[in-house]
């Protein structure tokens, strides 16, 4: 709506998907999966079982930073993914849960890994006739949790300068699995920091390891941009700080249970 109003895009026709809410607004666990219908709103996610489960505490982080109540009541999860925007908070979190997306068209349906879906700014690896119907991820094991951190100058506002989400499974203080996603690693869409993940996997999550991951490993794979909102240096510095905080938050979440 905002892009149309600002004349950035001028579509020949607009399809209102809201009536599909009858079928596609679910948020449920089923057969070892968590399944979210594309028309579920952020508000609905924020009052679902996800925000009460310590393993999915990242959703609760997301909810306390996601826009305003009146945006949350309209914003859908499908739209968050479809926007293919670096600052799509829900998408960044879903990347760390290794989610996959169900695309449906008259030709049938297919599942695509969320991290294979983005090609560029507002560009998706899908046909325009394909509808995002659902996003799902496998339930995560015990001893794991999620966190999302977003830096902005004021609450209730749209665009973070940097957003990071982390999923980790930590057992006996060793990182069994970890997935890290940022609003951007270099390209203009949310992506995972795979080199930093690889470095952390299998290591003990000590102060030194976290420090090294944030200050030595992350900057090697991350390229930030400068624009009117913040400089590249500032964004990189924020990325390091937020990643450190996110890892520490997860560590204490897993310890706290």
């Amino acid at each position: 709506m905002v892009l149309i109003r600002d004349d950035v895009v001028r579509p020949k026709a607009v399809l209102d998907l809201w009536p599909l809410r009858k079928e596609l607004a679910f948020i449920k666990r089923e057969g070892g999966w968590v399944k979210i219908g594309a028309l579920a709103t952020i508000e609905e996610i924020c009052s679902s079982f996800l925000v009460r489960d310590c393993r999915y505490a990242g959703f609760s982080d997301m909810c306390s930073h996601f826009a305003t109540p009146y945006i949350r009541s309209l914003a859908t999860i499908g739209g968050n993914i479809g926007a293919a925007h670096p600052l799509s908070d829900a998408t960044i979190l879903l990347l760390t849960l290794d989610s996959e997306v169900k695309l449906v068209s008259i030709r049938g349906e297919r599942w695509v890994k969320l991290d294979k879906l983005f090609l560029g700014e507002r560009k998706l690896a899908k046909d325009s006739s394909e509808l995002i119907a659902e996003v799902r991820f496998k339930e995560v094991p015990e001893n794991s949790s999620t966190a999302l951190l977003k830096f902005d100058r004021r609450w209730g506002h749209s665009m973070g300068y940097v957003v990071v989400a982390v999923y980790a499974q930590i057992k006996d203080n060793v990182v069994r699995e970890v997935r890290i996603a940022f609003d951007s690693i270099g390209r203009p869409f949310p992506e995972r920091a795979k080199k930093t993940e690889k470095f952390l996997r299998g290591r003990g999550l000590s102060e030194d390891v976290i420090e090294w991951a944030c200050t030595e490993v992350l900057p090697k794979e991350m390229k930030r941009i400068s624009d009117y909102r913040a400089s590249a240096e500032y964004r990189l510095e924020l990325s390091k700080v937020l990643l450190r905080r996110a890892l520490l938050r997860i560590k204490s979440r897993i310890r706290g249970g």
Binding site: S73, L74, G156
Partner: protein
């Protein structure tokens, strides 16, 4: 919206709305926004356009119990929905407790943001009759006030909570105007 759209290619669609307890049937273009229908077709000018892009909260209305920015809702999406605007908050000749509270603490400067702020308060109190300061701030954080009356808004919401708890929902405007 854009003049360059050829109007004839976009036929009128009939939309049924229940606004402030009254039923309406209006013909709208598919691209028309709810805010335009409320303001220009129904004359409900309490619905203000601030930013037109979901950032200021001046245009919020309560639609089927949800707080929504009417600038981001297509009119066709509001078909068969119940909508509350500020005009419908109290019966003719009365003020709602929330309105009275906002007047009592003298929170109104230019007043442009107030319809949105009051409806956001109504939405908050309907689901949470005793909000904490933090909860009030989280909801009103979405309502921009150019005049910066924010601290008084929090005071006003707490006073409204008090009135409502005492069972005082409506106040007679005549009585309020006449000297004690």
């Amino acid at each position: 919206m854009s003049n360059s759209l050829s109007e004839d290619r976009y036929p009128y669609i009939k939309v049924k709305l229940s606004v402030n307890g009254r039923d309406y049937e209006v013909s709208v273009r598919p691209y028309e926004r709810l805010i335009d229908v409320l303001r220009y077709k129904l004359g409900l000018t309490s619905v203000k356009e601030g930013c037109g892009r979901g950032e200021c909260g001046a245009c919020v209305v309560i639609m089927d119990g949800k707080l929504v920015p009417s600038c981001l809702v297509l009119a066709v999406r509001a078909n068969n929905k119940k909508i509350l605007t500020l005009e419908g908050l109290a019966p003719e000749g009365k003020l709602h407790a929330i309105q009275k509270a906002f007047l009592d603490v003298m929170s109104v400067q230019c007043g442009y943001c107030l319809p949105g702020v009051i409806l956001a308060t109504k939405w908050l109190l309907d689901k949470n009759p005793s909000p904490t300061d933090q909860e009030i701030k989280e909801v009103l954080g979405g309502q921009l006030c150019r005049c910066g009356s924010y601290l008084r808004f929090v005071k006003a919401v707490k006073l409204a909570v008090k009135y409502l708890k005492e069972g005082k929902v409506y106040f007679d405007i005549q009585e309020l105007m006449s000297p004690p």
